[in-house]
Amino acid sequence: MQSFYDYDTQTIGPYKIPVDIEYKLSEQSNAFSVYRYYEIMNRFTEALAVFNNNNFCVCILTPEYLRFEYLTAYEATHNRFKLPIIKLDTPIVLNKYEHVGWIKTYQQCQAVYHWPWMLLGDTETKEIYDFSDKLSGHPLVNPPLSLYKLLVDTDYNAVFYDLDTCSPVFIK
């Protein structure tokens, strides 16, 4: 889903990056199209997040490393400066988030394929990422896509499956 990298807190979504990335104010607001981010996410299947770094290159965050990449093959072959790959030793997830449900997905880029957005929740503290509601009962971790089908025709924004009541729980 759409997110932003915060240079002050070094976070993007539920991830904290233990690498100091310098911020330079740019005249252009965003040099890369939405399509490019999705395309890179599809190319690097292990990527958790992709974000623009000062309109110069893209940062690809994976569980094990942070990779800097030029946006096009032309730039990669014509730029003398080789972009680094930084190995991450510390865990990057802020909470113990797990995939507990699905979020209604309105596509921003239909040119590339991707699944519905995942609902991330902490099964211990019952917190749900990006939602004010809390998890109830024992949510099913890694639920099937058929649960998303139930969500489509409702007015709710997200769904998870409670194993205690054996029924889906919808969230506004």
Binding site: S33, Y35, Q107, Q110, A111, V112, Y113, V152
Partner: protein, 190 residues
């Protein structure tokens, strides 16, 4: 690259397409029908919709849903009223374009003419926004050297140079592709 209803890797014109008997189908200008298997098990009438994309190969509308088929074999289904993702399907997308170089086209620059190996009649001019159909079935081999000599020697515009292995010209009917594609005013996927 610009595609509409169904486009074959950016080669030539775009075709009206539909889904029937679990197959995505469209017809080449020579009359040969092309079918690709899909997991969608209901019929979608033949139609033509304009769009621009590097990755999308077909676009269909049916009832209140939009079907986007891509080169990677995925089909995403969206509700047209609010663009909500309502389903994921797949289809057997061609892995690459089955074409071969068969001649040259001179029009303020030299363009390659490619023969479609699926029907061996349809020819495309790469980057020249034209396509055609051979008047006779394609010969066993083409003589590209003759095509180079011909294209250079005459130096005239709109000179189609296709020669068979004996050096005889191979005749074809050519026509420009859809104007919306050349104008590039049908971008909805960028």
């Amino acid at each position: 690259m610009i595609y509409t209803g169904f486009n074959y890797f950016g080669f030539g014109n775009v075709h009206p397409c539909g889904i029937k008997d679990k197959k995505v189908y469209y017809t080449l200008p020579s009359g040969v029908a092309i079918h690709n298997n899909t997991s969608i098990d209901f019929e979608i009438p033949e139609q033509m919709n304009l769009f621009v994309s590097d990755t999308v190969m077909f676009l269909l509308y049916h009832e209140d849903k939009k079907y986007v088929g891509r080169k990677d074999g995925s089909i995403s289904i969206y509700r047209t009223s609010d663009e909500l993702l309502v389903g994921l399907q797949n289809w057997k997308a061609p892995a690459y374009a089955e074409t071969m170089l068969c001649g040259l086209y001179n029009s303020s620059g030299m363009y390659e003419i490619h023969l479609d190996l699926r029907d061996k009649r349809t020819v495309y001019i790469l980057g020249g926004y034209r396509q055609g159909v051979l008047k006779k079935p394609a010969p066993e081999r083409f003589h590209i050297t003759d095509a180079v000599v011909s294209a250079n020697a005459f130096g005239q515009y709109n000179n189609y140079s296709i020669f068979d292995e004996r050096g005889d010209p191979v005749e074809a009917d050519f026509w420009p592709i859809q104007e919306e594609i050349r104008r590039r005013d049908c971008a909805i996927f960028l």
